[in-house]
Subunit: 230 residues, 2 copies
């Protein structure tokens, strides 16, 4: 039997990264999932990520502790209020307060460090530049720049080249992401997307993440299997 | 009085980063120093960094806890032996086992996150591509790629552009670095460079870092003020 090529997959426990995990599995990679306890309000997503990783049969799953609260600056890691809306059309074009400074740069850096020790040249991330919250570090040019950096920054990059940052959802709508996941057998009831869940992990239904997710399911005529507070 | 422009300075407590701190101060920046407790053997360098930061009169100093030991892969964070030599000429051209996978990428990512919350557009790092250990993430092309990334990754980068990664030691020899520091009043007896110090913080005198440092002082006819075990 051929040895599978190892890949590192960023797994938040949300709809997007869970779909990406299924895509990497379908492509035949050995799965190494990485999650972050970074001071987010929604610690519930770590539990979801652990459950999802187990069900996907990942080889390894590490949860990295980093404290981005030391720096402040985001509604996801401080006491700033998470913006709520009644409909997805109310989401403005500006970068919202839920933006966490340099979050994906930090996350990808850790993924890169781990990839190097695993001799993995493939890193998967579920960023999406269509139905998203307007974060700068979810754009194609950011992903391309990180890939360039990765090949200059590491021993494996310099000696073997070919580190790839895979962002297979980059140009998909939320509805397309869900359809892709369904063909790969993803159970979306395990995933959690809410920026401001209740203490027991019920989704709020009104933050950007909840609204974008609900819209995605609605567009393909399905109801969102997430558990909502109301 | 004009408000000083804030800068974030990576400070390890070593000779290079301490010189960079002095350079940033001399350039008139408000100093915000960041150090990392990353599972390194030489925890002593954190104590040195705190002492140096105080003496330099930094505005803020944060010590970030991250556990790169989770990933293994380096003599600086695991039980692999740190290579020792009798002279600097014995240091080979290969990337040594003291290389920590993606370390500077991880460090710069945190510096970037903090810079963004401080509205700082200037980040200083003491990498050096001449008298160095051959790490890929100490090269000019790495620094340039990170600067490109930083301006794509962040709200401040996208909206205002102009995030700069300053690496003022990049093309200096160790002797030139020391001379520069001395003109700025750096007290090198406070700095610690050793990869494998004794429990009380005495330098080993035989790792790459000790040998490069001693050579630097010798070239300008000075003795290294670091405390050595033998």
């Amino acid at each position: 039997m051929q040895t599978q090529r190892p890949a590192v997959v960023l797994l938040s426990g949300g709809l997007d990264s869970t779909t990406v995990l299924a895509i990497a599995r379908h492509a035949g990679f050995e799965l190494n999932a990485i999650s972050f306890r970074y001071g987010q309000r929604h610690q519930h997503e770590i539990t979801a990520a652990q459950h999802i990783a187990r069900q996907a049969g990942v080889r390894r799953h590490v949860v990295v502790d980093i404290d981005l609260r030391q720096f402040g600056g985001s509604a996801l890691t401080t006491d700033l209020a998470v913006p709520k809306h009644d409909s997805v059309d109310e989401i403005g074009p500006d970068i919202p307060v839920t933006y966490v400074p340099a979050r994906n740069t930090v996350f990808l850096s850790f993924a890169l460090a781990w990839a190097e020790t695993l001799a993995a040249r493939d890193i998967f991330i579920g960023v999406n530049a269509l139905d998203y919250s307007g974060y700068p570090d979810c754009r194609p040019e950011f992903i391309a720049a990180f890939e360039t950096l990765a090949n200059l920054a590491t021993k494996i990059g310099v000696q073997q080249q070919g580190i790839q940052i895979h962002a297979p959802l980059l140009h998909l709508t939320k509805a397309e992401i869900i359809e892709r996941g369904r063909t790969l057998g993803v159970d979306y009831s395990l995933t959690t997307s809410c920026y401001d869940p209740s203490p027991t992990g019920l989704a709020c239904g009104h933050c950007d993440a909840c609204l974008l997710r609900q819209k995605g399911f609605a567009e393909i005529g399905l109801s969102d299997p997430a558990r909502y507070a109301s």
